[in-house]
């Protein structure tokens, strides 16, 4: 009896192993989907482009590596994303694998259609393989397919180019910022903040973008570039915020790190350039007669990166003046952005959330019609700039020329 029990115990211990190689997938049987491009076809179906990586052509070192194109794009269509993805398997010899997907490109056409746009997102949020930290962009003046098929020169993988570029432009210029599917869904769901999405453009000769010859030139015939921020309201694209104004959005969202500010000095245009290197934005709310007032406080610190005029930088008073000018410039930019958002009646800054946190009871009353309320909201901007240093030179050579 005891022996029997022992035998049974040993057999039971082997049960976990009986699942065999369930869920096992060899690397060589996988097709890494790096990016998805989603367009709307004339047949009203999703036209999905799958950008697959061709590993042997990406990694250097291996003999024979680096020849041929690093990516291949397959297209399929379907009423839903899942249907399109399953249809694609008819064309691809390997299992499509989404765990390394870093980019979803949605065409402007799809983004403008609320149902089409919202129907996309659940598939991404639900799939266990797919990461919700995946970057999402909207293609401008080009189809998503065109963006996905474009070859890039510095990074072998076009996806890397886009995700890295967004990261660095966020840090160095501050007109675009990294936005993931997670951020987007949060924005759509919440009342107090509307989401924004980066716009992407294909500049140049579109028909050359997907050919290897595009990579043979120092100035590529066609290239990708971030351009503008899409403002989403109720899950659909309503308008774009362009360049300078888009920088204001990044300031208010406290994502700005470094950028460049050009100033006028003694009537000379483009005389000074200040580059903030650290910046902090605080959005708070006060209540005036029971009405919320938003106070934005931006504190930043930077250095003088250019002085193209005769100026006495040794004088602390001059530095103080430069600081004042910088503050004014930033303030103007932010205010114009707020104005633009008010025009669109879309609270992309999350002021609603601030009000919610400060006064939940009041928020209950306001949240139903917040975007309209936002259009008439009083917003104060206060900027505190500090120019810490002026590079490795004190007075510019301009001071000596004019003597």
């Amino acid at each position: 009896m005891k022996k029997f029990l022992l035998v049974m115990l040993v057999l039971i211990m082997f049960i976990p192993i009986l699942s065999a190689c369930w869920n096992q997938k060899e690397l060589t049987d996988l097709a890494f989907v790096m990016a998805l491009g989603i367009d709307r076809g004339d047949d009203n179906l999703y036209h999905v482009s799958f950008q697959l990586v061709n590993p042997a052509n990406v990694s250097a070192g291996q003999t024979g590596g680096g020849q041929g194109l690093p990516i291949a794009v397959y297209k399929s269509k379907g009423r839903t994303i899942t249907e399109a993805a399953r249809n694609a398997t008819k064309k691809v010899s390997r299992r499509l694998y989404y765990a390394h997907t870093n980019l979803v490109v949605v065409s402007e056409e799809v983004a403008k259609d609320r149902t089409l746009m919202l129907n996309l997102l659940d598939a991404f949020a639900r799939d266990p393989e797919f990461r919700t930290t995946t970057e999402i962009v909207i293609s401008r003046d080009a189809s998503a397919e065109e963006i996905v098929t474009t070859l890039t020169i510095l990074d072998k993988l076009p996806v890397t180019k886009i995700t890295k570029e967004l990261k660095f432009t966020e840090a160095m210029k501050g007109e675009n910022m990294s936005i993931s599917i997670d951020d987007l869904i949060d924005g759509i769901v919440g009342n107090g903040k509307e989401p924004i999405i980066n716009g992407y453009k294909l500049i140049g000769m579109k028909e050359e973008a997907n050919k290897a010859i595009n990579l043979q030139k120092t100035t590529t015939d066609a290239f990708l570039a971030a351009d503008g921020l899409a403002v989403m309201k109720d899950g659909a694209l309503i308008d774009w915020i362009e360049n300078k104004k888009s920088r204001g959005v990044i300031w208010i969202l406290n994502k700005a790190k470094s950028t460049d500010i050009t100033l006028k000095w003694n009537g000379k245009k483009n005389a000074l350039s200040v580059a903030p290197i650290r910046s902090k934005t605080k959005v708070s709310t006060a209540f005036k007669n029971g009405k919320p007032v938003i106070n934005i406080k931006i504190e930043n610190e930077g250095w003088l990166s250019e002085a193209n005029t005769a100026i006495d930088l040794m004088d602390p008073k001059t530095m103080g003046k430069i600081e004042k000018l910088t503050e004014k410039s930033i303030k103007k930019e932010v205010q114009s952005t707020v104005k633009e958002a008010k025009r669109l009646k879309c609270d992309i800054f999350g002021f609603g959330d601030v009000v919610h946190k400060a006064n939940p009871n009041l928020w209950k009353k306001l949240k139903g019609d917040w975007n309209n309320y936002f259009a008439n909201l009083e917003v104060n901007v206060k900027v505190d700039s500090y120019v810490r240093r002026e590079g490795v030179r004190t007075n510019p050579f301009w001071s000596d020329i004019n003597k």
Binding site: P16, K25, E26, T28, P55
Partner: protein, 534 residues
């Protein structure tokens, strides 16, 4: 496991019976007393040894009394016999009249340090085969055994398996006495006990049990002796035999006894209250009880500064982990959890595996087995061909296999890291355990991925926690947790802070250092107050 042991039990019984028969045979001489006629005695020795050519017999006369001495050529020193026995026997003047020639011989004629009377045949053969000279005298039913041991022995040389940078450079030899002397020289205390016994019914191997009275746990000393006495086997060839016959648990790959060829290591173990077992014929001394963390303590840990040795010890434990889970993590990550690999790395690995015809597990298995074969072959190769094999091995593993597309370069990296990590374990017995566990985990990783590895590691941990070495929990300072003994576990405290001996292993005298042992410049205030007192 217990099923297996049950099946073995019936076989064991049979074997014991066989042993018993064997044991009886060589004990036959005991039955007969030593004859009064020395010639009869000599004849008997000749008969028992089958007239072996290395048994030397020389008859002599002391005064008017006849006698004969017997020794084994090669074991006994010719020089000693000629100088200290024969010369004095021939030259000595035997007083006339009735005397006890046996006592006279013992007292006056033997110029040796160790002379004993023996009274039965068992002892005769015993001392004969230990290199002593046995002397029979006409008319005496006793024999004299004079210590004339003098066989060729290997000189003390540098340790070959446990190297150290700052430590002493001597190591144990095959001779038991040399080994006990090496330890005695390091422990100049009367409390060092050296108990002897013989194991092996035929081989009659000398075993010495060393411990320090008052520091070692008496219960464990008793247990060790009891287990050694229980051994009933025809022959013992080395300490490895003894180890396997006294360990607590056979069904484990982890060593529950420690062995070392370094006298300094064994001495330090004795100071910690452990017990050393020296076996004649082996340069490896076994110490018990052994705990898991002990196998990661290298002699240099104590000779170099504590911060450095702590860092290195943690590195060693890390290396052990790599040696255990290295290939299985590779298998799990590339066949189950591709999402865990950074994108660029996943693509790079995928590119390399593009042309590999086997699944990751087979690929890993091929490489691991190839490496194990190379290592095993390299171990036993005659020195002259060793180099040829290492060149072929390096080419086969490193280049040809990759170029032929059988294995990916990543796999070569994984196998090499695993192999090198494996060698960083200071004690081979533990390193070899890691090798075995590694293959089991590779199988689990193939079937279940990281879940399988976790399952395997959990089983391993549970198993380790269940082990005992002479009653001491194997994972001792960690599970059960003991704060005091952490001083020499993952972190090696400065020498002055290692105040206690390990709990349970040592009983009684637990303190190693005195108070205020922390070194430093003299304190100003203390000096002044002292001066004031003076």
């Amino acid at each position: 496991m217990s099923i297996l042991s049950k099946m073995l039990k019936t076989k064991q019984k049979k074997r014991q019976d066989d042993n018993y028969k064997q044991k009886q045979d060589p004990q036959k001489p005991e039955d007969l007393p030593i004859f009064r006629d020395y010639q009869e005695n000599i004849a008997r020795i000749k008969e028992e040894t089958g007239n072996s050519s290395d048994v030397n017999i020389r008859e002599f006369k002391i005064g008017s009394h006849k006698g004969g001495l017997v020794f084994i050529d090669g074991l006994a020193s010719d020089q000693a016999i000629a100088d200290y026995i024969l010369e004095s026997v021939i030259e000595i003047e035997v007083p006339g009249g009735p005397i006890d020639i046996f006592q006279f011989m013992m007292d006056e004629a033997m110029a040796l340090g160790n002379v004993k009377t023996i009274e039965d045949w068992n002892q005769v053969f015993d001392s004969l085969f230990s290199g002593n000279t046995v002397i029979f005298l006409q008319g005496c039913n006793k024999a004299i055994s004079g210590e004339t041991k003098g066989w060729e022995k290997r000189a003390i040389s540098e340790p070959s398996t446990q190297l150290s940078i700052r430590g002493p450079k001597d190591s144990f030899t095959e001779t038991l006495r040399t080994n006990t002397a090496l330890i005695r020289r390091r422990i100049k205390s009367p409390n060092l006990r050296v108990d002897s016994m013989k194991i092996g019914t035929v081989s009659q191997t000398d075993i010495a049990i060393l411990y320090i009275d008052g520091i070692a746990n008496d219960k464990i000393v008793g247990e060790v002796k009891e287990r050694l006495q229980r051994i009933n086997i025809d022959s013992i060839l080395g300490s490895g035999y003894v180890e396997q016959l006294i360990e607590d648990q056979t069904w484990t790959t982890f060593p529950t006894t420690y062995h070392s060829e370094r006298p300094d290591v064994v001495t330090s173990h004795l100071w910690e209250g452990r017990i050393a077992i020296i076996c004649d014929g082996t340069p490896f001394v076994v110490t018990v009880p052994a705990i898991f963390i002990q196998f990661f303590q290298a002699p240099d840990d104590y000779y170099s500064r504590f911060d450095i040795s702590t860092g290195i010890r943690i590195l060693r434990i890390l290396a052990f982990l790599i040696a255990v889970i290295g290939p299985s993590v590779y298998i799990a990550a590339t066949t189950f959890h591709q999402e865990m690999i950074p994108t660029t790395m996943a693509i790079a690995i995928a590119a390399q595996r593009e042309s590999v015809p086997f699944p990751a597990f087979v690929e890993a298995l091929i490489m691991e087995v190839t490496f194990e074969i190379l290592r095993e072959a390299g171990l036993r190769l005659p020195r002259a061909v060793g180099q040829a094999v290492s060149i072929v091995g390096a080419l086969v593993i490193g280049q040809a296999a990759v170029q032929a597309g059988f294995v990916s370069p990543v796999m070569v990296i994984v196998v090499s890291i695993t192999a090198i990590a494996n060698f960083s374990t200071p004690v081979f017995a533990m390193a070899i355990a890691a090798r075995l566990v590694r293959f089991v985990l590779m199988g689990l990783a193939t079937v279940l991925g990281f879940y399988g590895i976790m399952l395997g590691l959990m089983f391993m941990t549970i198993h380790l926690c269940s082990l005992r070495s002479f009653g001491i929990p194997y994972m001792m300072p960690l599970a059960p947790f003991n704060l005091h003994n952490q001083q020499d576990a993952f972190v090696r405290f400065p020498v002055w802070a290692m105040k206690n001996r390990p709990m349970f292993i040592s009983k009684g005298n637990m303190n190693r250092t005195g108070e205020n042992q922390k070194p430093g410049p003299p304190k100003q205030s203390e000096n002044q107050s002292k001066n004031g007192e003076e």
